[in-house]
Symmetry: C2
Subunit: 299 residues, 2 copies
């Protein structure tokens, strides 16, 4: 920007009032100040902008062109300032970029985002599902604004806050002998236990809980390791066994009566789902609104 805004403002005031003194009065400065400003502008642009004859000041051809252009600049600036001021209020807009690991990514998060978006049409949602570590890394690099993950190694540059507590239950077919019961750990030895692959958040939770009960997962002799949550769920619905799984992941099945749950004595498995944010990043209004919305929904 080569033009000095005060000079431009002074020039415009002179054009409008056709007088240096009156322009000065309007701007709250003295006449010589206006005189100097306009002269500086004329020097800078290398053109005579005003005809000064006796009592009357009039723009030259170049002066008129500058005045018109200045009005456009001023209008645009006013608009910009209004947008900035209005930015702190009014309708939410922009794109909310969220990453989630597979667990929360396939259950709670999409639903919450869809509901939120329905209430805030001006916001565009971008959800990407990755493994926990990738989500965290991308949040740290500011590629994502929010992450929703289970257990994660601490990572510099990001902050974790509890988002929701995810209860892990033992799912079984609805007519199963475990349905609605509280069983012993030993009862599990005679059942076909379906487990998820290494690295799945729920598997880690269960391993930790069993360890606390003096058992190891492999002592239960699981013969079906079926990858991720959705595979395990489907197998149980189809009657091939039972599995530990996030209650949130089977809410619909429970409501539909296609699955039932049991509890295991001595085990109280749950895990924390965390919200991840980049430590030095100011939140967008959309992100803040989503988080508040989600917390209200999750209770």
């Amino acid at each position: 920007m080569l033009m000095d805004t005060r000079q431009l403002a002074a020039f415009c005031a002179v054009v409008e009032r056709k007088s240096f003194s009156q322009a000065a009065e309007r701007l709250g400065v003295t006449q010589p100040a206006v005189s100097l400003q306009v002269r500086s502008l004329e020097k800078r642009l290398g053109q005579k902008l005003l005809d000064r004859s006796g009592r009357r000041v009039e723009p030259t051809e170049a002066g008129l062109a500058l005045y018109r252009g200045a009005q456009r600049l001023l209008a645009l600036e006013g608009q910009l300032l209004d947008e900035l001021a209005a930015g702190s209020e009014g309708e939410l807009s922009g794109t909310l970029e969220v990453g989630a690991s597979t667990g929360p990514g396939s259950t709670v998060v999409p639903v919450l985002l869809c509901e939120f978006q329905r209430e805030n049409a001006g916001v565009a949602i971008s959800l990407s599902i990755s493994d926990t570590q990738t989500v965290v890394d991308r949040v740290a690099e500011r590629e994502l604004e929010l992450g929703v993950v289970g257990a994660a190694r601490r990572h510099r540059g990001v902050a974790f806050e509890l988002f929701l507590r995810d209860e892990v239950v033992l799912a079984c077919p609805p007519g199963h002998r475990f349905a609605g019961k509280t069983i012993d750990l030993d009862d599990l030895r005679d059942e076909q236990l379906i487990i998820m692959q290494e690295g799945a958040g729920v598997r880690q939770v269960i391993e930790d809980e069993l360890r606390g009960a003096g058992t190891r997962l492999r002592d239960l002799e699981p013969r079906l390791e079926l990858g991720l949550q959705e595979s395990a769920r489907s197998a149980v619905v189809a009657g091939f066994g039972v599995t530990f799984i996030s209650r949130a992941a089977i809410e619909a099945d429970l409501a539909a009566g296609t699955l039932a749950v049991a509890r295991v004595k001595g085990l109280d498995p749950s895990r924390e789902i965390s919200l991840v944010r980049s430590a030095g990043r100011s939140s967008t209004r959309a992100a803040e609104a989503f988080v508040a919305f989600a917390r209200a929904k999750l209770g």
Copy 2:
């Protein structure tokens, strides 16, 4: 304009380079200067514009909005500066406002203006015909940029310059006994002399010339006073008499053979047609170009 251009420039440089130091380098100032400028801008707008975390500086939501708006402002400003610079060259534009008194206004001036406009399509022409005094007044008041008039009283605030010398001839029908001759003043007493109304420029010229020859217009006993130039010309074409008239006004008739001219011994009438400009007014390029064009045409 509330925004300081240097602060805006500093802010934009930081956004682009994602670094205060690099922005400072680009702007040719020190890092603290940029730091202060951006902070001043943040304070003025009441919003945090940049996330400053470790090695990396990133715009906040508001910062991004400001940056985008600033780019629009910069683009518009660049455009304006280009227009101003180009204003001294390239195609002529704008409206050229000319006033003329009836004599020149009905002959030379319209033709010149039309020819000029044909060569400068970007220029719009506005010609208004009035009596001499009105033309001069309006030029003085900057309502017209140029005036073209015959004899006029000096007027403060306007400058007169010779535009063309208008020869006054005695017009008669083509087969008339005067056609192509040099007659005596006395020969006019037996002719039907048609004169223009009081105030017409040509009439004044003739009165002055006759006075110099020791005669008065009324000694010639004119019985037809026919208003202005065009009325007189028509009457002569129709054979009702002879009249003194501007040669320029009958060039077409002479070429067509519908009128002829004679000279009168002892009379050499002509008058100066002046160009009038407002004394304190800078000329538009279009006006300058027209004047140069006209002078070249008038030789």
